[in-house]
């Protein structure tokens, strides 16, 4: 399991590294006192601030490196493990740097952004630890592409079967396939909302007067086809309708898995939409923090 290895990479070498860095920072912090109050303005504060700033820059680079799979400079697991542990160490290092002195200023803004970035990172880490298991259980081990391939194959079969039914059923099944809703906006992906539709018609004769109706979870079209079974005139027609019901039910299952997969992956990715932009904002605030410190030296 890769997500376990991230934290325990090479016997947790980065965990020990982060702990060592933390111990060093505490030792530096503890030498403060005497005539000057502990804070970012003492030489210890400058050292801790430099460590923190280098950590932030390095962690950002790690974030970029993690996404460059073609690079051969270190392994992705190693970089990720370092990113997690050093990112966690950053919070106490920065807190020691500022010695818990806060205000309504750009310095505290940088700290607050850093906190949000770290907390979102912890949320993401939790996701990486918890969600892949659920995703694997949901998809039965198959990938999203495999699920879609299965769905498209069922769609094709469905269209073929529908062609052999009367016009109303044919249009209902065809429209239920074409008007199947998967995913959608961010909120619909996250909540796995299903706004599928299909065209339901009453007449079984020729061109039908049809209406677009809701088909959430494909249940409406399955029920529609099921109601047609007793009206079947010929055995072949009934068999065709029954085959359609089986197929639509299989399709229903696949769609549920796809939606759940999209939902879980959404939760797995959502933190990044906080983590990444705020990291960039943090770099900007960090630059202003350092610049303003030395402008008003």
């Amino acid at each position: 399991m890769i997500h376990v290895n991230i934290l325990r990479f090479r016997e947790g070498r980065y965990a020990w590294g982060a702990l060592g860095l933390l111990a060093l920072s505490i030792a530096i912090y503890a030498t403060q006192g005497g005539r000057v109050r502990a804070g970012g303005g003492t030489w210890q504060g400058y050292v801790l601030g430099t460590i923190g700033a280098l950590l932030i820059v390095w962690l950002t680079v790690l974030g970029v490196r993690k996404r460059r799979y073609s690079s051969t400079f270190g392994s992705v697991e190693g970089w990720t493990s370092a990113h997690v542990w050093l990112g966690l160490a950053l919070l106490p290092v920065a807190t020691l740097h500022c010695a818990g002195l806060f205000g309504w200023n750009v310095h505290t803004l940088a700290y607050a952004l850093m906190c949000v970035v770290i907390v979102s990172g912890i949320v993401g880490l939790y996701g990486y630890l918890a969600l892949p298991r659920q995703m694997a259980a949901n998809s039965g081990g198959s990938s999203r592409a495999a699920l879609f391939a299965e769905l498209f194959s069922l769609d094709r079969q469905g269209r073929e079967l529908a062609r052999g039914c009367d016009a109303a059923v044919s249009e209902a099944v065809r429209s239920s396939i074409e008007r199947t809703s998967i995913g959608g906006g961010a909120i619909r992906q996250m909540l796995a909302t299903d706004r599928s539709l299909f065209m339901s018609g009453d007449s079984a004769q020729g061109a039908a007067q049809m209406r677009v109706v809701a088909n959430s979870d494909q249940q409406a079209v399955i029920n529609y086809v099921a109601r047609r079974v007793p009206q079947g005139a010929k055995r072949a027609e009934v068999a065709n309708l029954q085959a359609l019901i089986v197929l639509l039910s299989r399709r229903q299952t696949v769609l549920r898995r796809i939606r759940r997969d999209i939902q879980l992956q959404g939760w797995l990715q959502l933190w990044l939409y906080v983590h990444v932009p705020l990291s960039v904002a943090l770099i900007a605030a960090l630059i202003v923090h350092i610049l303003s410190t030395f402008m008003y030296w």
Binding site: G34, R35, V36, R37, G41, L101, G103, N105, V106, H107, L109, R144, F148, F152, D155, R159, E171, I177, E178, R179, T180, S181, I182, G183, G184, G185, A186, Q189, R195, S196, M199, A207, A208, Q209, M210, R211, V212, I258, I262, Q265, G266, Q269, L270, Y273, V276, P277, L278, V280, A281, I283, A284, A285, V288, L291, S292, T293, F294, M295, Y296, W297
Partner: protein
């Protein structure tokens, strides 16, 4: 509006199929999204491509975003539609037809037969990156917002501050760079104008900025003297006085390092400046005290007398040179001296009055401290007549005037002239039989000599020199009295806080440090030395001892300039 959608499809056998759909909607959406009223598939159709709405008496098709449609062969973003018009979207053909009865609008839809039915996948958004959520755009927005709001706008507010223009409402100023609260006094004086102290960007706050207000504060060591040492340039004010989130003790540094960082190695780093090394407050780490004493030097002033100056001498062995004859032992002995109103022995506070600062004493003067007992009368018959103190020439003239008047004014004296008599030492002067003026002059002469040469007149307290001049006005010279007013001008010591010491109060507390009871000479110095302080005080936290820091007694910034000790004399 009620809409009839008629799907026209040509089968593989060439037969045309019609399929009608009824819709009731205010606006007819057209696009590849599954929830579109008119769902058209294919890569050329956007999820939400266009909308058709009534625009009486016709219809209006309007594209969404950058999409385009072809209406009657012309590519447009929007167009009015009437019955018979043909709209083409991504190969699909939509034609407005006469609506059947009960419908407001009829559209015949002829799908593009070349579009693969599986193209509807394109309408799905299965990843957050395909939604409105956008890392890159938000990142750029936030980064630019941070830089503009916390760097650029504050930066451009600085010239307005220099011009003393009012701050613009709602816009951030350089206050946003404020690292922490100022001390209240600085907040009051400069809290709204960072530039009052931060006068130049990327430059430490300069001492000149501090001195704009604190111009009376003196340097610890004058620049010229500092240059003789190996200490390097003077420390900037801000090295010690750290503003923004100042410690709870305030801006003033109080730890011993303030002093001993330099003074521990004074014998090395101070060069020619002779300052004894100090590393703490104990017999081995702190030198003995040196007092500042007023002494008459060899150099003469304009009147030919030795010039007064302040000399610093070790307490051990130092002698006062006040030129006053005074015995503490005698004054404190009730056998010799009692209070005027019969209140028993004199106490310290009868002469020494503590100043309001609790440190110093109101200066001893004849008028304030002695005259209540020591009247300057010279004739027992005229107890109301007193000699002027401090003006010997006037005193001589007064004596002469007095006796001449006694001689020439019959109402002035009833029974002749008498010498001033003192208890137990009296002999009646022989009566004068000569002319009254001669007698008066002789009596005056006698009295003047009595005052200036015996220990019963001026010379009782003062040093008098007889110059044997023929002119009586020039004959006697009284050595001026100078009492040292501040033995440790640069040191704080609160007498008030020491008025109660362990089990001692009142005079007992005074004499526990100032051993005056057996002193018969005004040359005795009663200033205690270091060991006396160490009886109660230590440098570190020790049980049953009061801890002292350097700053408990010493100030970094001198209250008077060390190079100009004469100011002491002027005071």
């Amino acid at each position: 509006m009620d809409v009839l959608l008629r799907l026209v499809r040509t089968g593989a056998d060439g037969a045309v199929e019609y399929q009608d759909t009824e819709l009731s909607a205010d606006v007819l959406s057209v696009g590849s999204a599954p929830d579109s009223a008119v769902q058209l598939l294919g890569a050329a159709v956007a999820a939400h491509h266009a909308s058709i709405r009534p625009s009486a008496p016709q219809w209006l098709i309007a594209c969404i975003g950058r999409c385009k449609v072809t209406v009657n062969g012309k590519r447009v973003a929007s167009a009015s539609l009437k019955v018979g018009d043909l709209v083409e979207i991504g190969g699909h053909r939509l034609r407005l037809i006469d609506p059947p009865a009960g419908f407001d609008l009829g559209i015949e839809i002829e799908p593009d037969p070349t579009v693969d039915p599986s193209a509807y996948e394109r309408a799905f958004r299965t990843d957050l990156s395909m939604t409105w959520l956008n890392k890159r755009r938000v990142a750029w927005f936030l980064a630019v917002l941070v830089v503009v709001a916390t760097l650029l706008i504050p930066y451009f507010s600085i010239p307005r501050q220099h011009a003393r223009a009012p701050r613009l409402p709602l816009l951030p100023t350089d206050q946003i760079w404020n690292a922490g609260p100022l001390t209240p006094a600085h907040q009051l004086a400069a809290g709204q104008r960072c530039a009052s102290c931060h006068q130049e960007l990327f430059v430490h706050v300069r001492d000149a900025a501090c001195r704009e207000c604190h111009h009376t504060t003196a340097d610890h060591v004058q620049v010229a003297r500092l240059a003789q040492t190996r200490l390097g340039p003077a420390q900037p004010c801000a090295d010690c006085h750290r503003e923004h989130h100042a410690p709870a003790t305030g801006l003033v540094v109080r730890d011993n390092g303030l002093c001993v960082d330099c003074h521990a190695n004074s014998h090395v780093s101070f060069g020619p400046l002779k300052v004894q090394p100090v590393t703490g407050f104990s017999a081995s780490t702190h030198p003995g005290f040196t007092v500042s004493l007023l002494k008459q030097g060899d150099a003469l002033d304009e009147s030919g007398r030795g010039q007064w100056m302040v000399r610093r001498e070790p307490v051990a062995g130092a002698r006062e040179q006040s030129n006053l004859k005074f015995s503490h032992a005698q004054h404190l002995d009730p056998e010799h001296v009692t209070r005027l109103n019969g209140g028993g022995a004199l106490g310290c506070a009868d002469c020494h009055t503590l100043s309001a600062d609790g440190e110093h004493f109101i200066p001893i003067t004849m008028q304030r401290s002695c005259a209540a007992c020591h009247e300057l009368t010279f004739d027992p018959k005229a107890p109301e007549r007193q000699l002027p103190h401090g003006r010997p020439r006037d005193a001589i003239l007064l004596i002469q005037d007095y006796f001449v008047r006694q001689a020439v004014d019959p109402t002035a004296a009833a029974d002749g002239f008498q010498r001033r008599r003192l208890p137990g030492q009296q002999a009646e002067a022989p009566p004068c039989t000569e002319a009254p003026l001669v007698c008066a002059t002789r009596r005056a002469q006698d009295e003047i000599e009595h005052q200036f040469t015996t220990t019963r007149g001026c010379a009782e307290c003062h040093e008098v020199t007889d110059l044997h001049s023929a002119d009586v006005l020039e004959r006697f010279r009284i050595t001026p009295v100078r009492l040292t007013r501040d033995y440790f001008a640069q040191v704080h010591f609160s007498h008030r806080m020491h008025a109660v010491q362990q089990d001692k109060t009142g005079d007992d507390a005074c004499v526990s440090c100032h051993a005056v009871r057996k002193s018969n000479s005004s040359a005795d110095l009663f200033i205690p030395d270091l060991p006396k302080c160490l009886e109660c005080h230590t440098e570190g936290a020790v049980a049953d001892r009061v801890t002292l820091q350097c700053t408990s007694c010493h100030s970094y910034h001198p209250t008077i300039t060390i190079d100009r000790p004469r100011e002491l004399v002027a005071r």
